[in-house]
């Protein structure tokens, strides 16, 4: 037609022609194909134009445009196959994302033909190289799987959402477009029925029946449902379009979600006739308000998160059992909910009588859950989309159904048995040990763990009271940190090892010592520990040394009495020590032995004969060397 022209002119021309293509018009499509065929030298430009057009055109016009592509590659082939194939993944997926489920099915069918040779052609190669179609297919499979999983995860949540959809009249303001409904069936009714998904086990044809239209046992509902579904579809598509325009507006988002949830319920087809009627009334109340056509949106505007995953409600939704258990059949609202969630094909007889109260029902479902109000509901309510004050009277009480006499947060003050002024001075502590009592939140008691002890150690997070005593304790505690750190740097140089565990007797006798307790001789012991030899100067009262690490030295008995030294664990020193020991030169003696031997002479070498063992070598049992003092704490009266 316009061969010989410059590429961009051809492209411009082609673009204009494409824009006229709004419906699946065979004539127009074949015309466009012919143009493409006659301008193969501009194939690249035309391909780009096609891609751009498909990307930017409104969802409703994507299918015809893609049909143009289909027609071109099948009738013309190279070089278009090459050029269009390059970006086909993006083009296809982009379109697929935005279109509704019926269009998706068409796209699926089209994709299927791309994997086969052109009908009637001698060429046995598929329309598009297999790697292109495969990548698209894989992506679709993934998306479907993800949607399914998401669906399952949301299973429980949907239960809540499901019955919330008795939409209140606050929607008058929203532009809705029921007349567009047939053109914009929601993409939610079914997973796009691909041919190769692991989900659906490769059905040979792409025309799997949408779940929505599965024959239902309740035939008399059909009339209701189909029209109702159409109406809902219309509302959804309107909401969807608005969402596309205002993706950041939470109210739009929520409305869309609520509608999709409603659709989910409809698809389950578990609603009773009466409930359906009610839903229909609500929907029809909403519908006529709209005037703005839905296909308006600037289609270049790709929704950030269009929500096509609400799809595929499996016919047997896995409703959580615990939820059902939570249901308290006493309240009417919950009864309705029970019917909705348990999927009873027939309603309990009470239901019809309460149907006029449907709006209440809209906020009831979350009542039995212990969680705070569903954020969606809260948001809807804040937007005025839900009746704010119409919370069912049962809701508040059913939050704590098991112990209705106790207001949450309340601490029960009962006559004190004792006077436990303990650590939580202000908070009188009286919590009953039973299952009901321990479920009551008592935030004020948490302060006893935190705020009451505001003085916090920066190193280990330990807390102290802000009192004088607390400060003292903290000071000692910080001392302990300081000493320990010092000793750790010292200790890093020598080899350390795990100690033996204590035996039963020692364990029973041992006393845990906090790092904040008064250790009067701390200073002196540290000094004496610092210089082992200097211990003697302190007199027999505090004679001890660290158990030597050297194995031979450790196994060497006291040269005087030939008894071995016994290692004991000192909490204070955090080390094994030898009580009643003194190191003189390279040898370690029992301090008592040494004292006895040296009481006449200053040097141990002056030792002659046997020591004065008649009096009995007295180990420093009663003396207050640090380990002893620490281990056997005097018990408070």
């Amino acid at each position: 037609m316009s061969s010989g022209l410059a590429s961009d002119e051809v492209a411009e021309d082609y673009k204009n022609s494409l824009e006229d293509l709004t419906t699946n018009d065979r004539f127009q499509i074949s015309n466009l194909t012919v143009i493409a065929k006659e301008n193969t030298e501009h194939a690249m430009a035309i391909s780009r134009v096609l891609e751009n057009h498909i990307r930017t055109t409104p969802p409703a016009q994507k299918l015809p445009a893609l049909y143009v592509v289909d027609s071109i590659v099948k009738n013309v082939g190279t070089p278009y196959t090459l050029f269009l194939g390059r970006n086909m993944y993006q083009t296809f997926m982009n379109a697929y994302t935005l279109v509704d489920s019926q269009t998706r099915r068409k796209l699926d069918e089209m994709l299927k033909t791309w994997k086969e040779p052109v009908p009637g052609s001698l060429d046995t190669r598929p329309v598009f190289p297999p790697d292109i179609t495969r990548s698209i297919e894989n992506a679709l499979i993934k998306a479907r799987t993800a949607a399914l999983q998401q669906q399952q995860v949301r299973g429980q949540q949907e239960v809540y959402n499901r019955s919330r959809v008795g939409t209140p009249p606050g929607w008058a303001t929203t532009p809705t477009a029921p007349q567009n409904a047939p053109r914009f069936p929601p993409p939610t009714s079914q997973p796009p029925q691909g041919r190769s998904g692991p989900v659906n086990g490769y059905p040979p044809t792409g025309d799997a029946i949408p779940v929505r239209s599965t024959p239902t046992p309740q035939l008399q509902q059909e009339v209701d449902i189909s029209s109702l579904n159409r109406d809902i579809d219309g509302l959804i598509s309107a909401a969807r379009n608005e969402f596309a325009n205002n993706p950041l507006d939470p109210s739009v988002q929520q409305r869309l979600k609520a509608l999709l949830d409603l659709q989910g319920i409809m698809q389950l087809q578990q609603l009773t006739q009466e409930q359906l009627k009610l839903v229909r009334d609500q929907v029809s109340a909403l519908a006529p308000k709209s005037t703005i056509p839905a296909s308006q949106p600037t289609s270049s505007h790709i929704p950030v998160t269009s929500n096509p995953t609400i799809a595929t409600p499996p016919v047997t939704q896995p409703f959580s059992q615990p939820l059902q258990q939570l249901l308290n059949p006493g309240t009417l609202a919950e009864l309705i909910k029970a019917t909705a969630t348990r999927q009873h094909p027939t309603p309990p007889p009470q239901v019809p009588s309460v149907l006029p109260q449907m709006p209440i029902h809209s906020s009831a479902p979350q009542a039995p859950t212990p969680t705070p109000e569903n954020p969606l509901i809260a948001a809807l309510r804040a937007k005025g989309l839900l009746p704010a004050a119409s919370a069912p009277p049962g809701a508040s009480s059913s939050v704590t159904p098991t112990f209705p006499f106790i207001v949450p947060g309340q601490v029960r003050y009962t006559p004190p048995v004792s006077t436990p002024q303990m650590n939580t001075a202000e908070v009188h502590l009286n919590v009953q040990m039973n299952t009901a009592s321990i479920k009551i939140p008592r935030t004020m008691l948490i302060t006893s763990l935190y705020d009451a002890r505001s003085n916090r150690c920066g190193t280990c997070g330990r807390r102290f009271f802000a009192t004088e005593e607390g400060k003292e304790k903290k000071a000692r505690h910080l001392d302990w940190h300081f000493r320990t750190n010092q000793r750790m740097t010292d200790a890093a140089r020598r080899a350390q090892n795990r100690s033996w565990y204590v035996d039963e007797r020692d364990w029973i006798k041992s006393r845990e010592v906090g790092d904040d307790q008064i250790i009067t001789e701390t200073e002196s012991t540290n000094e004496s520990a610092g210089s082992d030899g200097g211990a003697a100067k302190k007199g027999p009262a505090k004679q001890w040394i660290r158990a030597p690490n050297d194995a031979t030295l450790r196994n060497t008995p006291c040269p005087i009495c030939q008894e071995k030294f016994e290692s004991t664990w000192s909490e204070d020193v955090q080390d094994w020590i030898w009580q009643d020991a003194v190191k003189v030169g390279n040898r370690v003696y029992h301090a008592s032995c040494y004292a006895e031997v040296t009481k006449d002479g200053p040097t141990p070498s002056g030792r002659t004969g046997t020591p004065d063992s008649v009096l009995g070598k007295r180990k420093a049992e009663g003396t207050d060397s640090p380990g002893q003092n620490v281990r056997i704490k005097t018990e408070p009266a």
């Binding site: 995953t309 502590l429 919590v431 040990m433």
Partner: protein, 558 residues
């Protein structure tokens, strides 16, 4: 592309093998951050603002905590901000092979295998249990009664140990000193797996290490805890109809009661008993064992997590019944049974993970904290607890050892045992016995063997006085004879506080002073090479072989 599912896969692929940058985690009040860190990787967590606690133990502000090989949760009552960053990959000490999971960082913040924020936690319940216990403790203090003795029951992975940590940490926080008893041999507390322990806690729990550390020759940044340890080298408490577990529990309870009688703080605060999950499954004998524990520890409070069935059973059996304590009648002390929710954060810890935990516990016993967090130790005030310990390797003459082994398992296993270390016994027709674990048969067999192999088999049962021999015959503890079985390699030997010539009942009941790790067995020369925590001669005590549990730990020594 906004098609659902598509965007899910792409980012993670990009992030693979890229060290995760430090990320901020904001927790609203009452929520918790749950995270899993694989063995071999480390994650650093720093509390930037607010307050946070890990199983009840508060994190210090601005301190860097390093976690490795853990599944835990950081909870906040007041809201907080955490900074999470990837730690150094942890390489093993002494060139030990990295565990199977090593080297595979997760995709979560800081390289966590998995991490997320949970809004719903049972912490309110758990804290209330603490306050209820505090109420009882105040009462005990005022009236001179004993503090509450708490028994925690629930199936595997229901959060029993986490709950006992929380209760312990809260009690410590308010200045109490609870005695915590671990009756779960699958996981050690301050010791290796296969131990039943009791420990009085006064000092803070170790945020990084779970419970803390038992005494070492050197200092420790977090005060060490002093556990009383009993060795029970089997997974199942009901092994041999509980004939081994039961007396050890009794003995442990006796020690705890002794401590409470003398230690005023312990008496006021009471006891917290953690149990193996297997007791909460409907196994034959499990209820009897629970009853045994309830009786021995004079339990006053039974907490049941995550099991309605068990809860109703416990309600029926114990609720409002008088406790078994001696003073119960006088003071009208009654048992209360409380049901607790299981945390949604409880994850199944698969066999591989549990094995890694066990290995890590054993390694820590000998070598100290395996996590070397360079960054935190560089800080002047470090909360890190990494201490490298140097165990001593030495050769022991197998003939000189009094090594005992439990012979309680199924016939086939025993057969394998015999096969391993005494081929001669194979010919005595043991393989024809249908029920190897029958006590009577064992006794009969033993005497048979003695007559068949005089002088070689030195069963303590036959040495003792006839009166005790009857009792001992029921103790499925048997001396391991020369030559040293090759299966000794890579297993643990417990050194009991019990002389080598004691009878088997005493050995069974004795507390443990430590463990040896058998690195090598030289059957021909009759020598074994062992790793001992403490240098010097290995004390001449009766040893018990942890053959079946905690089983083999390969590669502790290179």
């Amino acid at each position: 592309m906004s098609l659902p599912g598509l965007e899910l896969t792409q980012p993670s692929a990009e992030r693979e093998f890229v060290p995760a940058p430090p990320s901020q985690i904001n927790l609203s009040p009452g929520s918790e951050w749950r995270f899993e860190v694989a063995f071999g990787t480390a994650v650093r967590v720093k509390l930037e603002t607010g307050t946070a606690e890990l199983f009840g133990t508060e994190l210090a502000p601005s301190q860097t905590y390093t976690f490795s090989g853990t599944k835990a949760a950081i909870y906040t009552w007041h809201g907080c901000t955490l900074e999470v960053s990837a730690g150094d990959a942890v390489s093993g000490i002494d060139g030990m092979p990295a565990t199977a999971t090593a080297g595979r960082g997760g995709y979560g913040a800081g390289g966590c295998q998995s991490e997320y924020i949970a809004e719903e936690t049972p912490m309110v319940e758990y804290a209330n249990v603490h306050f209820a216990l505090e109420t009882l403790r105040n009462e005990a203090k005022a009236t001179g009664k004993d503090g509450p003795r708490v028994l925690i029951l629930g199936p595997e992975n229901a959060g029993k140990t986490s709950l006992s940590k929380i209760l312990t940490a809260y009690a410590v926080k308010v200045g109490r000193q609870p005695v915590v008893v671990n009756l779960d041999p699958t996981e050690g507390m301050l010791s290796v797996p296969g131990t039943l322990t009791a420990t009085a806690f006064r000092a803070m729990l170790d945020v990084e290490e779970g419970w803390g550390s038992s005494p070492m020759s050197g200092p420790s940044a977090v005060p060490v805890k002093l556990p009383l340890v009993y060795f029970y080298p089997m997974v199942n408490p009901l092994e041999a109809e509980g004939s081994v577990y039961r007396p050890i529990v009794s003995r442990l309870a006796l020690s705890v009661m002794g401590r409470m009688a003398e230690d005023e703080d312990a008496r006021e605060t009471g006891v917290i008993v953690d149990t193996p999950g297997i007791l909460s499954q409907s196994r034959a004998g499990a209820l009897e064992m629970i009853n045994h524990i309830v009786t021995e520890f004079s339990i006053t409070t039974i907490l049941v997590i995550g099991s309605e069935r068990l809860y109703s059973l416990m309600m029926k059996n114990y609720d409002n019944k008088p406790s078994s304590s001696a003073s119960a009648a006088a003071s009208d002390e009654r048992i209360s049974v409380v049901k607790l929710s299981k945390s949604g954060g409880c994850v199944d810890r698969d066999a591989a993970f549990m094995k890694a935990v066990r290995e890590s516990q054993i390694r820590t016993y000998f070598f100290g904290n395996p996590v070397s967090s360079t960054a935190s130790s560089a800080l002047s005030l470090s909360a890190s607890t990494n201490v490298t310990l140097s165990p001593h390797a030495q050769h022991l003459d197998f003939n000189g050892l009094a090594l005992y082994n439990y012979t309680t398992s199924s016939a086939e296993d025993d057969q394998a045992d015999e096969d391993d270390y005494d081929p001669a016994q194979l010919t005595t027709g043991e393989s024809f016995l249908p029920g190897g674990d029958n006590d009577a048969e064992w006794a009969a067999q033993r005497s048979e063997n003695v007559s068949a192999l005089p002088g070689i088999l030195l069963s303590a049962a036959n040495e003792s006085a006839p009166a005790t021999a009857v009792g001992n015959a029921l103790v499925p503890l048997k001396k391991v004879l020369t030559p040293a079985p090759s299966t000794l390699a890579n297993t643990l030997l417990a050194i009991t506080n019990c002389s080598p010539t004691s009878n088997v009942a005493e050995i069974r009941d004795a507390s443990t002073m430590g463990f040896l790790y058998v690195a090598d067995v030289d059957s021909e020369r009759g020598k074994i090479r062992v790793l001992a925590p403490v240098g010097g001669r290995v004390p001449a005590r009766a040893l018990v072989w942890g053959k079946r549990w905690p089983a083999e730990v390969v590669g502790l020594v290179g």
